[in-house]
Symmetry: C2
Subunit: 356 residues, 2 copies
DNA sequence: CTGAAAGCGCTTACAG
DNA sequence: CTGAAAGCGCTTACAG
């Protein structure tokens, strides 16, 4: 006696499993491609084609398939698609922080670029930690992302090492990487230099620098800033650095430290706007007139900088564009189009306002 | 003549495909479970077990498997796991905004809770749009998330409708949903009431309200605030509302509108801290003493509120906890454990500072 | 503690 | 324009 193999699983209408706690294979009886095919009286292949590109299929088939999809509430299973096609339509994005508005806007740029192309984002927060970054890289590799977009918390070598064998393309954001790598950003060094030059140009005698986190990009800004001061014949030695995460609160604290170390300090470059806002608040508390007694410069041009009182002089960074262009570059690579350049420098703008 | 089917694909060492542009099935020849099994001289099942729970396997097998994994650089393919197990280990999180720091911190709470349990997040930004929310719900359903965490941009009914048939559990964040739904949040209405009562209590004669975005939660705060004013015998009619996205800049603008409409206004409840910061800056520009001439209250207690000058009176909201507890509730549901309560009220704190 | 079989729901690569 | 076959890389459900 032969067992009869049921080619088509029998679905009894209204056969709801009352015991929802039990983990059945198809919770809710979600419709599959096969269900749609049967309903539309075509093969699964035709449905598969119609779903990807309607022009691949005859109008009549297309109509029936669309009707079936609607009736069954069919939603494709991406895991199956990923497994079969070896394309996940997932892009992994690694940023050092999300409490920093800069990276939130970068993500918006990425999202706006890849969303219309049908990609989903896997967003990882490395917290500026190389170890965490390595972990995330591995974890995300398991999802077989089609590409990586990363703002490195440290050297790019470890990243390369990790991804090299996987063959997944990667574009660096903010770091203008070396040849042989893809990158979109701007020169942190030049930006820092522009600030140093501005401060020197407006007559600062004793400028100071306050910085938190001390990530690579901050240190590059510092290098440019120091060079500008030296070029202007000024001492670049006055600085308060801490590895603590940046915050407005910390800006207050660091400003106090700076002034206690150098009461004659007459200008301060804060490594970002949050710090600058804290410094400004602290000055208001201490009755220090800005910019008359102390000039303050921030970095990034976050939304509040323009409307603070006094408004804050800062460097406007193209963070949204960095995300968008890095994503575009990655998409080109994924589509097999060679981007014109392997590194795109988006530049920056020194925005001179009231505070310096 | 019979074709011989190769049971084991032959892999020739050093056989690198020079044409990396060609999209082969296995870019980089990523190792599979089968590769590991062969290397460790066990079956794929044993490897599968060892990977999930080492105690399921003999120590000797375990050792060989671990060695093989290391040597081959094996990284599991989650798409395959998802397809076979019907569990994606993905949690979809929908928030109305990422430029609002509140939701960034909520996401941090979610991440900190689900990360250790091996879940990845799919983060969707609805931009406060119900239409976008519906789109994202569908898009994410394709990824077969094990659960949803959402802060609704509108009514919860549409969400239910969408997810009902899918059987994917959902926990609401911030909205304390109706019975039969899972939710973690706090009473926006009571929080608004606390602010109204505080302003009345400190002698406000002509309080005003400024608000942006006008999402459901903002309107609930407004309702509580107005009731408190009425209870104190004050007029609740003075308000400037706009659907524009919230920003510090907008806070400046709305404050000016408020004062031009009611020059005798002596207290203002800003629906969030960004608006309050803008209002404060504008007062500084207009030489309006805060709180003497005008009291300012914000909402959320973002990091800058405590250190502004003057420091800003506001309501501290448990946003990190909302994310964490909502995630915990969801994880319990996924593990088949019934949470004690279906709605968790985390409360809030009125933080009285200098500005009001 | 271990393994052979079957299948998850799609797409690729052919063939017509 | 359409379809039958095979397979993507895992896990489930059995069986030992």
């Amino acid at each position: 006696m032969t067992k009869i193999k049921r080619e088509v699983p029998v679905r009894i209408a209204g056969e709801d499993n009352p015991n929802t706690a039990v983990n059945r294979r198809r919770p809710g009886g979600r419709a599959t491609l096969e269900d749609v095919a049967r309903h539309a009286e075509v093969s699964t292949m035709t449905v598969s084609r119609a779903l990807r590109d309607t022009s691949l299929v005859s109008p009549s088939a297309r109509e029936r398939i669309e009707a079936a999809v609607r009736e069954l509430g069919y939603i494709p299973n991406r895991a199956a698609r990923t497994l079969a096609s070896a394309r996940s339509k997932l892009i992994a994005v690694l940023v050092p922080s999300l409490s920093n508005a800069v990276f939130v806007e970068t993500l918006a740029g990425v999202q706006d670029c890849v969303g219309p192309a049908g990609y989903q984002l896997l967003i990882g927060n490395t917290g500026y930690s190389p170890a965490r970054q390595a972990e995330l890289l591995s974890a995300y590799l398991a999802h077989a992302p089609d590409g990586f977009l990363v703002t490195g918390s440290d050297d790019t070598k470890a990243i390369r090492e990790h991804l090299k064998t996987s063959g997944v393309p990667l574009v660096h954001m903010f770091d203008l990487a070396a040849a042989g790598e893809w990158s979109v950003g701007f020169s942190q060094r030049k930006a820092g230099h522009a600030i140093g030059a501005h401060l020197a140009g407006r007559g600062a005698r004793r400028p100071g620098f306050i910085a938190a986190q001390l990530d690579p990009r901050t240190m590059q800004r510092r290098a440019g800033y120091r060079r500008a001061l030296r070029e202007a014949g000024l001492d670049a030695g006055l600085e308060i650095l801490t590895k603590q995460p940046s915050s407005v609160d910390l800006g207050c604290t660091l400003l106090r430290s700076l002034l206690s170390e150098a009461p004659d300090c007459d200008a301060v470059f804060c490594c970002n706007d949050d710090l600058a806002l804290g410094a400004l608040f602290e000055c208001q508390r201490l009755k220090i007139a800005v910019p008359r007694d102390l000039a303050i410069v921030g970095f990034n041009d976050l939304p509040f900088a323009a409307v603070a009182s006094p408004s804050i002089t800062t460097v406007a960074t193209p963070r949204y564009a960095v995300g968008f262009e890095a994503a575009r570059m990655l998409l080109q690579i994924l589509d097999g189009i060679a981007p014109e350049r392997n590194r795109i420098d988006l530049g920056f703008d020194l925005v001179v306002r009231e505070s310096a």
